[in-house]
Subunit: 335 residues, 2 copies
């Protein structure tokens, strides 16, 4: 079996602004499949904002030129199996970087449950890592309770739209912000109680109006002035869950706003602030959450929006689109 | 039965610096004991730093002149009972303010377990609210694990010394700071791995030296520059638990230091910051922790230091002593 395997590697030049020229595509030869390994072929690949983080930390140190671009997970098909738990033709989630094919230890692969009528691409979206992140942020980290007021900063994004819909399903009041009117219309359709175009309103004033009694849970994906402003609107017993900082990945740390002395309020309000460190966060098996999300999608209770890029060679372009604000829903590459 | 009941009330003048003149002692007449109520007599009373907080918030608004000074709990003896669960002569913990006697609903009283040889005064200290706070901060909020590095800012105080000893019993490395050499000697005796007089060292340098790999848990009771500096030394997966802010209760909020943009580190390190709001925090039944502490004291594994003020009329003086740095261990008033 001769396979034309391709992979994306880091190209010569990295700057502070994430773009497709960071990467280039190269051919490579696959190793032999040994006992306990699988040869897999990418079906769907994802692009994730956190890939820009190493760059933010150190534009030359963290990343090695010529190395395969790491990634979250891809949805892949088993072409050849030397592990009886994974028959040929079955589908798995595996983190093996931006590659068209890979030989991977079966132990690193997760079986994808039967999606039935639901699109498999959602294994990377609302029924995959982003959906699971929304579940973990709301139900485990923030311990969301019925009737609470939930603020979501990037509400049309892959995690944000799921978080907002889940909070609505649990009887919460949900306030969402997005970056253009079309996105705002969409999150209104999803049932958000308040939806704003953040380019057209002032956050502080808008929160005073939409959450006069304060906020119980803030799910921050944006960073910058957002958590600084939201902090002052947090209620007694409130929780801030930081799951992303997309607005600041390409900024110098010294230019970021300071948080006015927070520890007195944190004490007096019994607040919790929790960071979901994407690099530290072990994506363990959370079958319960995944089944819950899958059921919601098949019942039509959890809506989604995907942007599909066709072809493995579109991966870098799809990545760049993450940062230009043009995407709307989860960006997926179909290999 | 004629009882000379006395209570402490807020006096005319309140300023930003907590002192005994905030309070004056007055006689009052006890109401009749109705069904479901108990007449109790104070045995031990406590003074707690958080009583200065209302003052910090608003020197004239939060506190009403002439009102009874609220308090945490006192250890009291039941003199007359109209609830069969609390026989006359039994001992209870009850929050009824700075009073020598009170008629209280039995439902608000907690039975004190059998202290055996252990001094009952510890029901307000190492085996009471402060000890329980240390347990909850370390074991529930911070989920302390064996071998972690724990920083305690006010290590000779009522909560801090217990927290440090508990962390040592769990095999942690413990770094403590106190305000004079005598206190430092004491926390060294208690087994702290590193103990410093914070008036003689620079926090940042000292942490670099004593915790070169960083800190897993910081229990902050002090506030001000402390949590700001400690923040930069926190490890991946670390937790900051805010249980007090004693250094800033008499400061203007505008003079407090800002925290340089923290949300990126909170995300990347998967950090947790948790405030134990003393006013929000419901002191529910935590029998397991109380029994654990009681056993440790009777086995000599948990040491303690108390400062005893004799007489109900010493209450205000004892309170002032909380803030002048002269106390050493838990301040208790024996009524």
């Amino acid at each position: 079996m001769s396979i034309s395997a391709k992979k994306w590697v880091f190209a010569e030049k990295l700057t502070n602004k994430p773009k497709k020229d960071f990467f280039k595509i190269v051919d490579f030869t696959l190793p032999e499949v040994k006992d306990g390994e699988l040869l897999v072929q990418a079906v769907y690949l994802s692009v994730d904002p956190y890939m820009a983080v190493s760059n933010f930390y150190d534009a030359t140190g963290g990343i090695k030129i010529g190395e395969t671009v790491p990634a979250g997970e891809q949805c892949a098909k088993v072409l050849k199996s030397k592990d009886s738990n994974f028959p040929e033709g079955s589908l798995v989630l595996v983190a093996c970087g931006w590659v068209s094919h890979a030989v991977v230890p079966a132990a690193q692969c997760k079986k994808i449950p039967d999606f039935g009528e639901v699109s498999l691409s959602l294994s990377l979206g609302s029924v995959g890592m982003p959906g699971l992140t929304a579940c973990l942020a709301l139900f485990e980290s923030a311990e969301l309770k019925e009737g609470e007021t939930v603020l979501i900063s990037s509400a049309s994004g892959a995690v944000g739209n799921v978080a907002g819909q889940l909070a609505k399903l649990k009887g919460c009041k949900v306030i969402g912000f997005a970056g253009d009117d079309e996105k705002v219309d969409w999150i209104k359709e999803l049932g958000f109680d308040h939806a704003y175009n953040y380019k057209k309103v002032k956050l502080d004033e808008t929160l005073k109006k939409s959450a006069p009694d304060g906020i119980d849970i803030y799910v921050d994906m944006v960073g910058g002035e957002w958590p600084i402003t939201a902090f002052n609107h947090m209620k007694v017993g409130s929780r801030i869950v930081i799951i992303g900082q997309i607005s600041i990945y390409n900024k110098e740390p010294s230019t970021l706003p300071a948080l006015p002395y927070p520890f007195f309020d944190i004490l007096m309000k019994g607040m919790k602030i929790h960071g979901f460190g994407v690099f530290n966060y072990k994506l363990e098996t959370h079958d319960g959450h995944i089944k819950y999300l899958l059921n919601l999608v098949s019942e039509g209770k959890l809506k989604y929006k995907e942007v599909l890029y066709e072809g493995f060679e579109k991966q870098a372009e799809a990545f760049e689109a993450l940062f230009d604000g043009s995407h709307f829903g989860k960006i997926i590459v179909k290999a």
